[in-house]
Symmetry: C2
Subunit: 328 residues, 2 copies
């Protein structure tokens, strides 16, 4: 029987989950839950019902795993523990500093309910975290480097759009090629914030706005831009719509370590992602972990998990025999 999946929310990530379920032969989308009036939401999959989130408490018999597609800032910290009391739940909580607190709350709710939850699935946190963990275990003596981009930072784009006179704006985070090369060389460089990433902004200004002032405001914005080399381009609304609506992203994780009795041998582990669609890739990771969470639930291994707790074989629809024969 297919794993019965529910989606909570219907933003970019939820739509990614909806599209990628079609690539998981052992899963079935059984419903989408929304805070809006369900009759106003038209989803892409034929024949799948839309429910109100208020109905979540009545549908526990119909779903094996719920994918909570809310935002990390204010939604997931409240709703994942709430849903974890009813369902096996996966989320993509990405506020790194608050993960321990979130974990504790979700773990308590899941254990009490006899359910499995898995938080912070995606690529960072998620696949990048896994690479950091594996490579730290393999090369205990060394340095970690994480670079993001080229891709859109939602937080920085929001910050630009809050500036008076700005009609629309998008910010790309870009790794500095020289910094990547320095890390790849094994020289274990110490890199400042400015040396690691540049920021490129595309801004649509209101008519008559003071562009020089907007540019200055962006470049001097503390935390967001002041510590970076930032470029600002003013473009038309048409160009913005044509060239800056994509959701691509990516990044790099390095471990640069040494071995040998005298530390005489260098090793570089490099992992990189180049993603046309950040939400669809994140959704794909979430679905693989939904499979694993359901398997743990069937084994009675309740509580909150992260990617660190999941044996890789649990992510695959193939059997152990098949995996050893084909992929080892």
């Amino acid at each position: 029987m297919a794993i019965r999946i529910g989606i909570i929310g219907y933003g970019n990530l939820a739509r990614g989950v909806e599209s990628e379920i079609s690539r998981c032969p052992d899963m079935e989308l059984k419903g989408v839950f929304t805070r809006r009036d369900p009759s106003t939401l038209k989803i892409k999959t034929e024949g799948v019902p839309v429910y109100s989130v208020s109905e979540l408490k009545d549908k526990t018999a119909d779903f094996d795993v719920m994918i909570n597609c809310g935002g990390s800032a204010t939604d997931l910290p409240v709703t994942t523990p709430e849903y974890a009391a009813l369902y096996n739940v996966i989320d993509s909580f990405d506020t790194h500093a608050k993960i321990p607190e979130h974990f504790a709350k979700v773990d308590e709710a899941s254990k009490k309910a006899g359910k499995v939850s898995l938080i912070s699935a995606g690529w960072d946190p998620g696949m990048f975290s896994l690479q950091r963990l594996y490579s730290n275990c393999i090369l205990p003596e060394g340095n970690d480097y994480t670079f993001w981009g080229k891709g859109v930072s939602q937080g920085h784009s929001d910050a630009i759009r809050r500036i008076p006179g700005v009609k629309n704006g998008k910010q790309y985070t870009i790794p500095v090629p020289e910094a990547l090369d320095a890390v790849r060389s094994g020289s274990n460089p110490t890199l400042t914030t400015r040396q690691k990433h540049t920021r490129e902004c595309f801004v649509v200004a209101e008519e008559g706005a003071d562009k020089a002032l907007i540019e200055k405001t962006i470049k001097e914005m503390p935390n967001y831009f002041a510590d970076y080399d930032t470029t600002v381009h003013f473009i038309s609304e048409e160009e913005f719509a044509a060239n800056h609506s994509k959701l691509n992203h990516g990044g790099f994780v390095f471990r640069s370590g040494i071995t040998g009795l005298n530390g005489e041998h260098k090793h570089i582990i490099e992992y990189s992602l180049k993603l046309d669609s950040n939400p669809e890739f994140t959704a794909s990771v979430i679905l693989a972990y939904a499979r694993a969470a359901f398997r743990l639930f069937e084994k009675g291994d309740f509580g909150c998990k992260t990617v660190f707790d999941i044996a890789p074989a649990l992510l695959s629809p193939l059997s152990g025999d098949e995996l050893r024969a084909k992929m080892l």
Copy 2:
């Protein structure tokens, strides 16, 4: 109490395990087992005893995990099942096609003995296998590409040295840069054997040997060289000793996949290793998995495992709380 490690064998891999144990604060080298007369073997670590392999059956109380550092061709298929009846054992069995058979034998012995074993730890099989598994689970629709090198192929070097008139020889496997770029572009190329790797040979010829014949014999050797663009350099014994004694290696694993309702988004996952010392890196992987195997033994989860069965958190000396706070 530290995990008490034993090493069986004392070749390159074993010496790598010996050096890398010093980077694992929770482990202690308690002995090296050899087929030679133990009194003739001088190891690098002070105060660690050398035993004969014939003593293995008498030392089961003194070791938590044995690292079997034998070769895959004829040694490991026989000895790992044998040692698995006595100890928790790790090996680096790398004959991909025979893994299922090896697994079955070791699994039976370990389960009967109430021990844990883990086979095929290293980087391929090992870390490369993990990348293939993770990325196949995340991007079910796509293509895998594995490239090896630049690094020494022991099998190909041996094949060269068996040619009459050859005094010494070394063969480097080199990924073709254009093939790497084609994969990185997301074009999902179909690549022939010749398009993926070139082979570069450094040969010391016996005095008076027919170099043209040696070169022809190498280049036309079926399976080993005939399907590749091969370059042969004749060099002096001095140059060979000075420049071709390193044990560096590496390689690349790619997954090039698509997402979206119409498969309209491309994603590239790239993992690469650049290793100054193949045996020391392999040893480092083995030690992380020795830690995990011992933890499974303590939990009573007996039998043979592979890297696919090990939750990443088990590889780390840090606690779950620490890992979530620092690396997720």
